[in-house]
Symmetry: C2
Subunit: 320 residues, 2 copies
């Protein structure tokens, strides 16, 4: 949930005069995204999403995110399409913040994904990787293996208040990941945060992908490892290999994985679990006692990490 | 801002099958209202607002609120209109909470109301009072003069942490209000919370009134006193008599005030300031240190109260 910045009617109406999207009829702050302020805007020409970028998103990265959405939409991927001003600009300033307007996508996110949803996500992810192939801009992954130890040290020894011995276990795992992290696999644009709430469905059909604000240039199959983490576990944290198989098979039908990519999957899955464990741990420890907003449970990803540590090959994820 | 309850797609889709409003296409939690969870729902037949009533709203009061919106909408007042199920029910249960669907109203709320907006609100308020005249249900005002001392005692001596001597001043004012509170003035349905964020405009035209969840049966002119408090002060807490005059004149053009009602206006305005001072004080003191959500400043209404204490007659509000 996030609406950090209030926008006055006058300021918004003035902002919209730069666009060719009609008269302002209503706007509502919406509880979506955790990094930015989002508004659903109704004008005489339709519905749009207005995003104000709060300080957790680096302003220098915005041209990459906006450019990527434009690039992918132009290649037929269903994702929010930046709306340009009459002068051709996709980024402006509103209420003192960088701001953009994108098209509104219908669709529903699935709270309890089934096997069919996992297959649809695998296919969409592969299409995203192919469509991103000729995107010229680069953005390093600020949340990859090099960043994890500093992130962990930022959380500090208080990690053990969340679970006894957690810090020691993290340090041990970081030692492994830093030594064995695969290099030289195919790189490209990855979404890097394709959780269920960022994937829309209409009926059984995947209707769109949203929230490209962690997208970056990184190992493509790492994106697959992230999706295995966030789509294929059950609420009791057990891995559902039928879902894993469906996701991987659908991905490979569009973009086959090389042997080297398959071999790297287990360690990449461990890394993906570590990345979400660490950012959730930092958020968890940053929230004051008694606050109304409860952050996501970091231990969910600790338990997933434990599963990945027990994996012996990519076959354990359902890879044929 | 408020989305307290998450609703799953499956649960919502099942809930909607009871209605004749088409297929679910999307829904977003919206940052609106402070008492309930609200969602903007898009179906194949249009846009609607779904409200889940959280525990701050007494379930027994819901038929009054829903019935009132229906009654007012039927009399041409622009307010959200409850949508009934195929069985004719306006209230259901979703995610374990009482839930209702109402029509979506376009419109924008005015952050900095001008004289014209105040006149429009005065007129709309009088029309609401007339339209409510034959509404059969009754609901006592749970936040009227009898409730203020218990509410204050609930906040306790910690009030002085907000401003030195605040508690003494409140006790003194409560003594005055309890003794001089007017009885026997015309009663009826009042909105009781017609703040700028509950009034929509499209251009200069008032396009709708929302949020009837404090509505009750009480002294009609008390509603006018509430509006003087929340529409006619400047950001520096000075009273703008031009705005007061515009609001009162437009109100009286639809529903003239009797001499007794005019005479009672100053003490009712003091009471209205006290009511918002007290509820804001309770909310302010209830929020833990360091919380992300900042409640509204109670001292805004302390300063307004000080103004009303200096008023000698309703002429000071602009009444001719």
């Amino acid at each position: 949930m996030a609406v950090y910045t209030d926008v006055s009617t006058d300021d918004l109406a003035r902002f919209l005069t730069r666009y060719d999207i009609g008269e302002l009829l209503s706007y509502k702050g919406i509880a979506e995204g955790v990094e930015n302020s989002n508004f659903l805007v109704h004008t005489s020409k339709g519905y749009f999403i207005l995003t104000l970028y709060e300080k957790r998103v680096a302003e220098g990265d915005l041209p990459f995110f906006i450019g990527l959405m434009e690039h992918l939409a132009a290649r037929g991927l269903n994702c929010p399409q930046p709306v340009k001003t009459k002068d051709g600009a996709a980024l402006g300033v509103l209420a003192g913040r960088p701001a953009a307007i994108v098209t509104f996508l219908d669709g529903l996110w699935i709270r309890k994904p089934g096997v069919g949803h996992c297959a649809a996500v695998g296919e969409a992810l592969a299409k995203l990787h192919l469509a991103g192939g000729d995107f010229a801009m680069k953005r390093p992954n600020a949340l990859s293996v090099e960043s994890w130890r500093p992130l962990f040290e930022h959380a500090g020894p208080r990690g053990d208040t969340v679970r006894p011995e957690l810090c020691n276990e993290i340090v041990g795992e970081l030692d492994v990941l830093e030594k064995s992290w695969p290099r030289g696999l195919p790189q490209g644009v990855i979404h890097a945060d394709l959780f269920p709430d960022n994937v829309f469905f209409l009926g059984d059909r995947l209707s769109g992908l949203i929230d490209f604000y962690f997208a970056c240039t990184d190992t493509l199959v790492y994106d697959v490892a992230i999706c295995l983490n966030c789509w294929c576990f059950e609420p009791d944290h057990s891995f559902n290999v039928t879902k894993g198989r469906a996701l991987l098979k659908a991905y490979q039908a569009v973009r086959p994985l090389s042997k080297a990519e398959c071999d790297a999957l287990p360690v990449l899955a461990r890394g993906a679990a570590m990345r979400f464990l660490l950012t959730r741990l930092v958020d968890w420890l940053a929230v004051p006692e008694g606050a109304l907003v409860k952050p996501k449970d970091p231990l969910e990803y600790y338990r997933k990490l434990r599963f990945h540590q027990s994996v012996t090959s990519a076959r354990d994820y359902g890879l044929n």
